[in-house]
Amino acid sequence: MADEVEIRQETDRGGAKLGFAPWADPAARPLVRFDAVTKRFGETRAVDALSLDIFPGEFFALLGPSGCGKSTLLRLLAGFEAPSEGRVLLDGTAIDAVPPHRRPVNMMFQNYALFPHLTVEGNVAFGLKQEGRPRAEIAARVAEMLALVKLAPLARRKPHELSGGQRQRVALARSLVKRPRVLLLDEPLAALDKQLRGETQFELMELQARLGTTFVIVTHDQEEAMTVAHRMGVMDRGRIVQVGTPAEVYEQPNSRYVASFVGDVNLIEGRLAAVGPSGLLIDSTVGAKLATNQRVEADVGATVWVTLRPEKLRVATAPPAANENCVSGHVAEIAYLGNVSLYKVRLDNGFMMKAQLPNLTRVVERPIGTNERVWLSWTPDAGVVLTG
């Protein structure tokens, strides 16, 4: 999966936008800035001293489990909540005193919040009518937006006459028709079935690239965040624990929390045995010596964790030549997923490891079966060493 993501990063996101990385440019001005924002609900801190910059034209994903404060962050930006401390800035100006109906920010609600008494057309036109636009302009822009989301034939329907996917597109059209500076998407695809969700993700990306609007999406689905976003912020208990491109977050997680929340991972605990010129040597709890070519801020003897993505492991039925970065066990379970197979291997000390192999050929009988003895090995650059 990491390979797919990387390829997409180079093609889809590349093309015209190959160099799109305003976050790396010190001269770039952020469009949205959370400046040490804290939001308390009674005793709990839904958002905790959080700072974050989002740049114009960016598709930013806030990723985290439910209750991590990601939706609160969105609501702070929309103006439905006021920060207890800190400031929210839009284009360099603090907007905390601006009421929600005056903010150039539109939101697509998780339950879509379509007005049940209005038609599709009426829902989409609602925001433009509030601006007091001329009738002809409203009609033209509504028609244009409905065409964009392929809903033109359903313009006269009421929301209860639409399918879930159609309702989702009405909500999207309604939030985009005002041409907001920032579009907020609160779990926009959560109610759709998996296939429709996949299609809609690509439609969202296309739309965002076409309009150039800054999108901020909130999701608990790491695959969705990685698919659509330029950058993602992983949240935990009101804080952003890591911000980066999907590839950075996946390949270089900065904590065990991020490593296990984003993607599948093997976490091996160990003790830092030696720091050499070419890398580290770690005594692991799985009985093998682990060598990595990484550097880490820790002293010899400290407890560290090595994260290994399942697809980075080689599975062999005979021991490899080197005895570093190699463990052995029996295949406990095989999950055949079509494109890949996931092997759960029980090591001799009982530790479970996950390895993923691509199914390159069309063979029903796989060469490795359950209970077979296998050796898992990896290269020194496969693992990420974490201290926390």
């Binding site: 929309a78 103006g79 439905f80 009421p99 929600p100 109906h101 005056r102 920010v105 539109n106 939101m107 609600f109 339950n111 919040a113 379509l114 007005f115 049940p116 008494h117 609602f126 925001g127 509030q130 601006e131 009421k158 209860h160 309604r174 939030s175 005002k178």
Partner: protein, 304 residues
């Protein structure tokens, strides 16, 4: 829906008979009796009208009975303007009371629907609480409050709002006070039910799309509470048209509501046929809004 009904089969069909049976027994049959009496003539007899139908007398008697029925009472209803004025006055009082009820009841229902959940139960009980006392007793209580040396005048004089006690009893104001007080729960409860189930994210969506709060009320809240408004208005308007107790005890005697006219015909004049005619016309008058209400309900069901 159709499928559910089909699956329900025999058991479902017989369950439907219960409400229909109730309606036939306690609405249709009495109405047919009233209709029959309204086509009779007054008589000094027991019962006080003629002809009296005797099913044991056979077919010839039935023919004779039918020939004796007449629409004289209805002609009388049209000829004597007293009835027309009574009907109009009833409609006027019902309309004005319903508007007052809506204007007073809507903010109360809205507030109830918006306060924290744990207070809503208590507020509901408070709205329903007056039902625990007899309607008649509550109206009599208003008589003592509104009379010349009653609580209201005492308070007004004590607060120096007026110099001398005002006349409240036997005025239209008193009728409106009594009716609005009595029917308040019938307006508030359906409004509350409609407002309470409204999704609050719709209000946020409206704000997010640039709509200020006061405008959101007109564009979103009010249209979405329409079923509650319709239910509350009909639940109040229909019985108020036939209201008897409040106008009789609190109002003056110069202009009568149709309920009072009916009472006079029935008990004072002992003119059962005329009273029945008045009742039958009143019923037809009220069937129109009831049918509108039913139509509305059916549409709501389709929508949901």
């Amino acid at each position: 829906m159709a499928e559910t009904r089909r699956r329900a089969g025999g058991a479902g069909r017989s369950a439907v008979l219960i409400p229909y049976g109730w309606l036939v027994l306690f609405f249709l049959l009495p109405f047919l009796i009233v209709l029959k009496i309204s086509l009779s003539a007054t008589a000094i007899a027991q019962p006080p009208y003629t002809p009296v139908f005797d099913p044991s007398a056979g077919l010839a008697a039935l023919k004779e009975f039918l020939a004796d029925l007449s629409f004289d009472n209805y002609a009388q209803l049209i000829a004597d303007r007293l009835y027309l004025f009574s009907y109009l006055r009833s409609l006027e009082i019902a309309a004005v009371s319903t508007v007052i009820l809506l204007v007073l009841g809507y903010p109360v229902a809205y507030g109830m629907a918006r306060v924290a959940r744990r207070w809503q139960g208590l507020l509901l009980v408070l709205v329903i609480l007056p039902f625990w006392t007899s309607f008649l007793i509550r109206i009599y209580a208003w008589v003592t409050i509104l009379q010349h040396d009653g609580l209201l005048n005492q308070a007004l004089v004590a607060l120096h709002i007026v110099d001398a006690p005002l006349t409240w009893l036997a005025t239209d104001t008193a009728i409106y006070i009594g009716i609005v007080y009595s029917y308040f729960p019938f307006m508030v409860l359906p409004l509350y039910a409609a407002l309470e189930k409204m999704d609050e994210s719709l209000l946020e969506a409206a704000a997010n799309l640039g709509c200020p709060r006061w405008k959101t009320f007109w564009l979103v809240t009010l249209p979405l509470s329409r079923p509650g408004i319709v239910a509350g208005v009909l639940l109040c308007f229909i019985p108020i048209v036939g209201e008897f107790v409040a106008p009789d005890l609190l109002g003056g005697s110069s202009r009568q509501m149709i309920g009072q006219t009916l009472w006079t015909e029935f008990f004072a004049n002992r003119d059962w046929p005329a009273a029945s005619g008045v009742a039958a016309v009143l019923l037809l008058l009220l069937v129109v809004p009831i049918v509108i209400y039913q139509h509305q309900q059916a549409r709501e069901l389709e929508g949901a």
